[in-house]
Symmetry: C2
Subunit: 253 residues, 2 copies
């Protein structure tokens, strides 16, 4: 059974304000916890359901944790209801320290994917996963995106959250201006009426901005953009899902 | 306030077995209900929250329904909890008759998107929406996909469910064999190790098969395929979300 203070701490980490305050977040399941230990994120604590400690997969995680100096605690059945972040607890979870990412940390590569006001956790998680698939490591979030350490986001990244650098801007226009001036990035936005994305030839360092589903890329950013692109449709749908648009874009790069 | 029989009927339509039995499904919200009335689907009944009947958007829907001979009922506050399919009832919903789609109905165009065992409602809905965006009208589902008339699927299509033809196969291998032999379609599957999708040149009538996230395209279908393609990744993610893969494919077509 877990100490009360641990249960309390985990319950708090389900809320954004405590995740910010403690600089930590939660991940559940084998894939997530395994990738976390293998990554350069600091794993603060691994929690395993006590009566499943002898399962092969659990033993592997325990071994891996011990090898990396990560403490392991065992939960009782009565703890599960309090700590789980999904309906069905997969038997293990971990508390992870958030990486402190500076603007400079995301300037190392040619492309940056920037999301403006993306609120849906599944969309953000899927975009992170897709970026990781295409080898894009650097992600810039506007001040009003969903918290990337929200458990739904973390879950839908399928472990890819441990492979990317996410910088959360406090003011997107200002951040983009700095990246343009100081780091010589071009800015390209995906909008409803722009040049055909299939004609994209990105030869320079570029930040690609994807907007929210309801409002698109904010006007100020569209104006700052060096070029605006559109994914051409010919059917009757009003818009594309932002994660799909992101996938098509990243495949193009 | 709604008649008890209507409330009961709607509650039943939240279950797959009753949707199959009655050949009906539910849609909520302005966009969905509006698109339904405008489409060639038969709208059986529109339900509007009584105390919101004077809102401009509601009046428009009522007018549109009357013009199309669709009956409108008004619900009391006490009905909402029983009929709503989302946490926050958007004030209106409709009962729609499912279109009866035969294999022949989806053979009218060059491309068919086929999904093998896709279980996630959000993924199926997003794929339908993306197909609609790219003007692909015909969709073939394996026998074990999530019910396309599930309310979560319907919601994530954002109205696109009313623009496409969905044929639900009772046995995918058999259906594909028939399409190959009788309708002269080629079959292309998206798999983990195939030719680079960017090299795709589909000149002939083709069925594109996307597999489930956990198991990919079933072996029997991979074997039947005329060609297998892969979306090349260079990062550390293990796989792409099936809806993202579908989006990249459809953009390519």
């Amino acid at each position: 059974m877990l100490e009360k203070s641990i249960v309390k701490h985990i319950k708090q980490l389900k809320q954004k304000k405590f995740r910010k305050e403690f600089g930590e977040f939660l991940v559940e399941g084998f894939k997530g916890v395994g990738e976390a230990i293998d990554s350069d994120f600091e794993v603060v604590l691994v929690i395993i359901e006590g009566n499943r400690r002898d399962e092969t997969e659990m033993k592997e995680i325990i071994k891996k944790a011990e090898k990396n100096g990560v403490p392991v605690e065992f939960s009782g059945r009565q703890d599960i209801g309090d700590i789980k972040t999904t309906d069905t607890f997969p038997g293990l979870m971990a508390v992870i320290a958030q990486n402190q990412v500076t603007p400079e940390d995301i300037t190392g590569e040619k492309y940056i994917i920037c999301l403006d006001s993306v609120k849906d956790p599944g969309n953000l998680g899927t975009i992170i996963r897709t970026a990781d698939w295409f080898g894009i490591k650097n992600i810039l979030l506007s001040e009003d995106c969903v918290d990337p350490y929200n458990e739904k986001v973390v879950r839908s990244t399928m472990g890819s959250i441990f492979h990317v650098n996410i910088f959360e801007s406090a003011g997107l226009e200002h951040t983009l201006k700095t990246f343009k001036e100081k780091h010589e990035y071009k800015i390209c936005s995906l909008v409803m009426k722009g040049e055909d994305l299939n004609k994209l030839k990105a030869t320079k360092k570029t930040i690609f901005v994807l907007g929210s589903e309801s409002h698109g890329v904010r006007k100020e950013v569209e104006k700052m953009s060096d070029k605006n692109y559109t994914i051409g449709g010919k059917g009757d749908a009003e818009s594309l899902n932002v994660a799909i648009a992101g996938g098509i874009l990243m495949n193009q790069l």
